[in-house]
């Protein structure tokens, strides 16, 4: 195969696609505006990186100075805010049901009496566990308050017994625990959620684009036209005069499903048939497809850069780590393009391709093991999780950007994504060849 012919196929196809995108604002938006807005929106959603001031209620049945101290400690916790003091449980329950508050701390009647007489004096936390995020944070914070109170009470008691305060602190807790969160130490939700959700959304958008870019040619029965144009340059599909193109537009979008008249269709199909069965060249097809996906690839490599720029924390992450992650993200996006195309070409239908895309990519974040840990995913579901490219990419993303792992640890994932991308690309080419040979199946909705 002449290299000139291949580069021509690439350039013609890219020019063809450029014309399409400039004339179809919806498709253009899918490549440019929607992904850009999505990246920024997600970052914006989590711009307050810490959860603060979750509203809780208090029922103080004790009304002692120690109980007041407890309420003050609760109020002082940055993650909590005491919305209101309630006087009956029914009242407080109603407030939980209306979601005015997410928990009630009950200080029982004999709280201070128990403390003074050296008996354990429990605090009761009733928490709305249906709201898992809220509940988890409230539990940790109230637990911390109870711990502070306990330590104060215990140390005071030991001091009363005549122990030096410093010694009392040690006696209270002979083995202290230093709790250290390696990486993302500030439990920053922007790092945790936003930085992983953005690649998940780019993956979804890329699969949709992958499906539509080739799928619309199938639907509009223009696949044969496109191939003839990229391999021979005739008829020139990029240089239609403005008049023709706009009338074509109206014909496309509005009139009778953008189809050519019946007679035309038949002649196109028979034409296509002769052409394709004899002379479809796989390499020309491959370069044509690369040209067709050139603009989305270019656009998404910018969005990927933006996503990683946002996700890279202030403390320096090694350049090699950022590069490895970027390579991984680009591969994930390219793989997504080809996978969307494979599902569309496999079913000969843009609609089915998009359905499969939605089914696979939309819930993939739930299976990726970020919010719900991978090791806790049920055994059978783990096979599905392993089959999703997003799972592997996010492993690489977290290891490189948040855990500062050496690049070598994550290279197998980059290689794996590269192999998967190559296979999906080859498959797309072969399936396009098959699609060209079956013009009678074009036009499915």
């Amino acid at each position: 195969m002449h290299p000139m012919k291949l580069s021509k196929a690439f350039l013609r196809s890219a020019a063809y696609e450029r014309r399409f995108l400039t004339e179809n604002p919806w498709d253009f938006s899918m490549v440019v505006w929607i992904p850009l807005a999505t990246v920024l929106l997600i970052w914006w959603i989590f711009s307050q990186t810490q959860i603060t001031d979750l509203p809780i209620g208090v029922i103080d049945q004790d009304n002692s100075p120690i109980a007041n101290t407890a309420v003050r400690y609760l109020e002082a916790s940055p993650t909590l805010t005491v919305r209101q003091l309630y006087y009956s449980e029914a009242e407080a329950k109603a407030a939980i049901l209306q979601r005015d508050i997410y928990a009630i701390v009950i200080i029982p009647e004999d709280f201070s009496r128990h403390i003074l007489s050296g008996k354990p004096a429990p605090l009761i936390l009733q928490v709305n566990a249906q709201y898992g995020t809220h509940s988890g944070i409230i539990q940790t914070s109230v637990q911390a308050v109870a711990g502070t109170l306990s330590a104060g009470v215990e140390i005071q008691r030991l001091v009363k017994q005549g122990m030096a305060p410093s010694q009392a602190a040690i006696a209270y807790s002979p083995i202290g625990i230093q709790r250290i969160s390696l990486f993302n130490a500030a439990t920053d939700y922007q790092q945790f959620l936003a930085s992983t959700v953005i690649p998940a959304l780019l993956h979804i958008l890329a699969m949709v684009i992958g499906a539509t870019t080739i799928g619309r040619e199938l639907r509009d029965k223009r696949l044969g036209h496109w191939y003839r144009f990229i391999s021979t340059g005739h008829p020139d599909l990029t240089r239609i005069t403005k008049n023709e193109s706009t009338s074509g537009q109206i014909l496309n979008a509005v009139e009778n499903n953008q189809y050519l008249s019946k007679n035309d269709q038949i002649s196109v199909s028979s034409h296509a048939n002769e052409d394709m069965t004899e002379s479809t060249n796989v390499l020309v097809l491959l370069f044509g497809l690369l040209g067709k996906y050139f603009w989305p690839t270019l656009a998404f490599s910018i969005w990927a850069m933006l996503a990683l720029w946002l996700a890279t924390p202030q403390e320096s992450v090694a350049m090699s780590s950022v590069l490895a992650t970027y390579a991984g993200l680009i591969l994930l996006i390219m793989l997504s393009f080809w996978l969307g195309a494979v599902f569309t070409l496999g079913s000969f239908s843009l609609r089915m391709g998009l359905s499969a895309t939605g089914f696979i990519s939309a819930p993939s974040y739930a299976f990726a093991g970020v919010t719900f840990p991978y090791i806790a995913i049920s055994d059978s579901a783990r096979h599905w999780s392993d089959a999703l490219p997003l799972t592997h990419y996010l492993k690489l993303h977290i290891a490189q950007l948040q855990m500062q792992a050496p690049v070598a640890v994550s290279l197998p994932i980059v290689y794996g994504l590269a192999i998967a991308t190559t296979i999906a690309m080859t498959l797309t080419t072969l399936l396009t060849k098959r699609a060209l040979a079956h013009p009678e199946r074009w036009g499915a909705r």
Binding site: I42, I45, F46, Q48, I51, A70, I96, Q98, G118, K119, P120, L123, Q126, A129, Q130, Y131, G132, T133, Q143, L149, S150, E154, A169, I170, A171, Y172, I175, I177, Q178, S181, L182, F183, N184, T187, F192, V197, A200, L201, V208, S347, S349, L354, S355, G358, F359, A362, P363, A366, V370, F372, P373, I375, A376, I377, S378, A381, K395, A399, R441, A444
Partner: protein
């Protein structure tokens, strides 16, 4: 799949002449049902996809609670005390321990996802404790994964506290305290946690009831916009006000049935809290489904093409979930988003459904949600009527 509903398209375009006479509510209702059943794409999205999702989405969470998290221990002390700590940690149901020789090894294991965190017992720990000096162990959890980190910290905390309390008790007893009170004394203010509603604190029980409302919305939205978009291509989209109401009723009916399937079957199957206020839940669906269907009609008229609803809407589920106020507290959102989010039906929808069906709130306690949904329905319907008026005006102009 591959067979286009071609014949159906051409046959129905021919009766589009009939449609200029204003169809009744019932006629439009029945025609829409007929069209849904003869359109595989719409049927797949409206009926089959949400049923599959009902099984598919809870799948990863079937273990519900995270236990036996693999962790490492580096014992630099190698004393009786440190071995006791190791023994207690390995007995914890939350942890699955393994020993490492040094921190570097443990870190490498974290990087390759073999363990989720580790504890370092420093050398000389026993010595320091025996001589009454301050001593501590370090627990290092992986901040990259929140839920795991919590497990690692809590698991080690419990094990070490137990050992630590044992030492404290021994000392107190030596100092002449009664051993019963001394044992009870270990925490002067213990915290009794009572989880309400989701009493097992399962992850699936937390996330699935909310996500199913999102699934309900997205499938109905995409299917409706697809059907209306297809009709637009065929020039069959115009109809009377009653005609639109009939269409909305027909489309909502399918999602209402799916909603009942979720409430009555999916949640039951996975033992999620459910059915606390069944009448309220059904009333909610009765309002939620038409609201979503009406928005779907507006989007269909905007997209004007069969496949476009999928193309545009597939990605929107995740952002919509995050602004709903369920997984992420709404008052943490930027102020502008706190307003914009109310234009999405799931914003009042998810909370209202969870409050009614999982928590058992009364209807008056979720009245805000009901009012918000009703207001959204009115808003979308007004939009729909505006588009309709706009279209007929344009049609009249081109005729004259």
């Amino acid at each position: 799949m591959s067979l286009p509903p071609k014949d159906h398209l051409s046959s129905t375009t021919s009766d589009s002449t009939k449609q200029s006479s204003t169809p009744s509510f019932l006629a439009s209702f029945l025609q829409t049902i007929k069209d849904i059943f003869s359109d595989k794409g719409v049927l797949l999205l409206l009926l089959i996809a949400p049923i599959i999702y009902g099984f598919f989405y809870p799948w990863p969470y079937s273990t519900e609670v995270v236990n036996h998290v693999p962790v490492g221990i580096i014992d630099n002390d190698n004393s009786n005390l440190s071995r006791t700590i190791v023994r207690y940690a390995s007995a914890s149901p939350q942890l699955d321990t393994q020993l490492f020789l040094n921190e570097q090894q443990a870190k490498e294991a974290i990087w390759s996802d073999e363990i989720a965190g580790y504890m370092v017992i420093p050398s000389g720990l026993e010595q320091q404790v025996l001589s009454g000096k301050a001593a501590s162990v370090s627990v290092l959890g992986n901040g990259g994964y929140f839920l795991l980190n919590k497990n690692v910290q809590m698991g080690f905390l419990k094990a070490v506290s137990t050992v630590s309390a044992g030492i404290e008790v021994k000392k107190n007893v030596a100092q002449g305290a009664y051993s019963a009170t001394a044992a009870a004394n270990t925490q002067a203010v213990p915290l009794v946690i009572v989880p309400l509603y989701n009493q097992t604190e399962g992850y699936g029980a937390y996330v699935v009831p909310a996500v199913s409302i999102l699934i309900l919305q997205q499938t109905l939205l995409i299917a409706t916009a697809m059907l209306i978009g297809t009709w637009y291509e065929q020039r069959r989209h115009a109809t009377s006000i009653r005609g639109w109401l009939g269409r909305i009723a027909a489309l909502s009916m399918f999602s209402f049935i799916i909603g009942c399937f979720y409430y009555g079957w999916t949640f039951e199957l996975h033992h999620y809290p459910r059915g606390q206020n069944m009448i309220g839940s059904l009333l909610f669906l009765l309002l939620f489904c038409p609201t979503v269907a009406t928005l779907g009609c507006v989007l269909g008229l905007w997209f004007r093409q069969r496949e476009r609803s999928m193309q545009i809407l597939i990605f929107s589920s995740l952002p919509m979930f995050f602004v709903s106020g369920y997984p992420w507290p709404a008052d943490q959102l930027p102020t502008v988003l706190q307003i914009i989010r109310w234009f999405i039906p799931t914003t009042p929808g998810i909370n209202t459904s969870v409050q009614l069906n999982q928590m058992g709130a009364s209807i008056s306690q979720v009245s805000t949600g009901f009012y918000a949904l009703a207001a959204l329905w009115v808003f979308y319907f007004a939009l729909l009527m505006w588009v309709r008026w706009h279209d007929t005006n344009k049609a009249l102009k081109t005729v004259s």
